[in-house]
């Protein structure tokens, strides 16, 4: 009995100590963050979420905006090294040319975590990388559609991202994987909408005209929400009901797609979370506290949102993030 008590006490104490360690874990740590710039709403949201995550953990975040230039990022990283920060987060603007500056960080014993994008080069130059699995995003979207249509015959039109960009290639591949072997689902048209609303609308207009005014189309799959928002407007202009006559599924989970869901005009979106920094901070903490070497590639969750997931609440939550 006494033994059990002692054990329980010990476990409790250990628990207390651990939670204290958690609270203190990153308290007062100085972490540099080299952000690409403000190329998109998602990027802005990533920046504001990173700042919020750092603040919640008591981290002193040094933020550097590279304005889409690698030379600025390299300068910022050198600056962080000179300041002697505890860790560096980088969202690399390009994949190549990082060996030298990351070697400098390594020699200074500063762990580097890559956010959102990978780099080419030796893997020992960085502690870990946090990114989404774009193929999985496409697969989740496709699986939702497969489940939603059941055995019904369904012709899908696809709005691709910018030709040759990795999200476009991977999200297309993932979606096709989910649809493989389903005889009732067919992608009848696929064109690029350049990830923009206006091109998404224009391409969807063309699809609607070419497919009997939309009568042959049962669903539209857009590689990002912005194109879906454009497509929704095109569907409405053609006198059809988006979300009902034509199902709308897309990727990213930006606020405006939740607004469309509230209006019943969008059916599903897969989240590309702007919270890449949260897992990065967790990995750093585990690394510092327990010496745990994190996995080289941390994959963020690709969460599916449908109108059943409180779209109004999601809209309100995201609206202030800078999307």
């Amino acid at each position: 009995m006494k033994l059990i008590k002692t054990l329980a006490l010990g476990a409790g104490l250990a628990g207390l100590l651990m939670s204290a360690a958690y609270a203190e874990g990153l308290q007062g740590k100085v972490i540099g963050f080299s952000q690409i710039g403000s190329e998109s709403g998602w990027r802005a949201a990533e920046t504001s979420v990173t700042k919020a995550e750092a603040e919640a953990r008591g981290i002193d975040l040094k933020f550097a905006d590279a304005q889409q230039k690698q030379e600025n990022q390299i300068k910022a990283i050198r600056g962080f090294i000179a300041q002697g920060v505890d860790a560096i987060l980088v969202a690399p603007v390009v994949a190549t040319g990082w060996e030298e500056v990351l070697t400098e960080a390594k020699e200074a014993n500063i762990p580097v975590v890559l956010l959102d994008r990978g780099i080419e080069g030796p893997e020992d130059l960085y502690l870990t990388s946090v990114a989404s699995d774009q193929v999985k995003e496409g697969r989740v979207a496709g699986e939702w559609l497969v489940g939603a249509v059941g055995d019904k015959q369904c012709n899908v039109v696809e709005l691709q991202g910018t030709v040759g960009s990795s999200p476009a290639i991977n999200r297309k591949q993932g979606f096709e994987e989910a649809l493989a072997g389903k005889a009732n689902l067919a992608i009848i048209r696929s064109q690029t909408g350049d990830f923009t609303r206006s091109k998404g609308k224009e391409v969807m207009e063309g699809f609607l005209k070419a497919e009997g005014g939309g009568a042959n189309i049962c669903a539209v799959y857009a590689h990002n929400d912005d194109m879906a928002v454009g497509a929704i407007q095109a569907i409405k202009d053609a006198g059809l009901k988006p979300g009902t006559d034509i199902l709308v599924v897309s990727i990213d989970a930006v606020p405006d797609i939740f607004a469309a869901m509230v209006a019943g005009e969008a059916n599903a979106t897969v989240e590309l979370t702007p919270n890449m920094a949260g897992p990065a901070f967790d990995a750093l903490q585990a690394y510092w506290d327990a010496g745990t070497e994190p996995a080289k590639f941390i994959i963020t969750e690709s969460k599916l949102y449908t109108p059943a997931d409180d779209p109004q609440g999601e809209y309100d939550r995201r609206k202030g993030l800078g999307y």
């Binding site: 802005a44 030709v163 224009e202 391409v203 207009e205 005209k209």
Partner: protein, 346 residues
Amino acid sequence: MTRPTVDLRPTGQPPLPRPRPIATFFTRPQVIALAAVLLVNWALFPGFFTITWQDGRLFGSLIDVLNRGAPVAILAIGMTMVIATKGVDLSVGAVMAISGATAATLVTNGVPAPVAVLAALGTGVLCGLWNGILVTLLDIQPIIATLVLMVAGRGLAQLITEGTIVTFADPLLIFIGTGSFLGLPMPVVIALVLMILATLLVRRTALGLLIEAVGVNRSAARFAGLKANALLLIVYTFAGFCAAISGLIVAGDIRGADANNAGLWLELDAILAVVIGGTSLMGGRFSIPMAVLGAMIIQAMNTGILISGFSPEFNLVVKSAVIIVILVLQSPLSARLFRRLPGAQK
């Protein structure tokens, strides 16, 4: 302004364009090219020429071509005059983004829509004036002078929108982008009205001639007593004004101002439209209606590619191949070859 009595152009230039009979209109390479592109579209998609009446407006692929081509057509109207003065305006795409961003940000902050529209047009005029000042007072080459605003302008637009897509539900702005008048989409109506007004302005007054004079030889025009700098200022300001209109249309169309993408690379489409329209980049003779026709050729191609079902990797290849064919047909070499063909002589 009085019409100068002396022809300022160097000798050897072809005579000024005069109103032509309808028959010669249909033998122009631009008209033939447009007809050819439309026919190919029709072959790829039999319903291409079908136009129906739906929700109080015309509805069909041909209407889409007009509607989607309107922003570039409007840019081309302003660009034609700039190119006629031997200049070029690379900033129009960025000015579109600024204009849309201004209007959207103002209406979302509770400013009445007409004021927001005027403010957007005003920023376009200011941007054009800025280009004009760089080109005239500072005498910077147009391609460099307007490059400044092309790069900085998109940043300005991003500053205005704070990097987000500013969405709005204002009926006036949405009407400009997606409304209809007499069954025609609003952008088409705006482009038509602007084209007719601009053409009348330059052809029923001496303005067109003066612009051509400046384009052919700016110094000679100045020595002949023309206020070349004032003309250039007007022309660049007008191009900015046209870009602001396009920006309003593009923003109204998607009910939001997308500072990153609105008007992106459209300056190149506008220049291409002007060149397809037969206006030389060396300045001088120009035609606004032909530039608008050029914009329609480009859009007919874009729409054709969308409905053809080709995979998107072919988009740019197909587009450039068609453009090369059109430009080769227009070249002096092929004009000479055509003349040598038996039966081609008048």
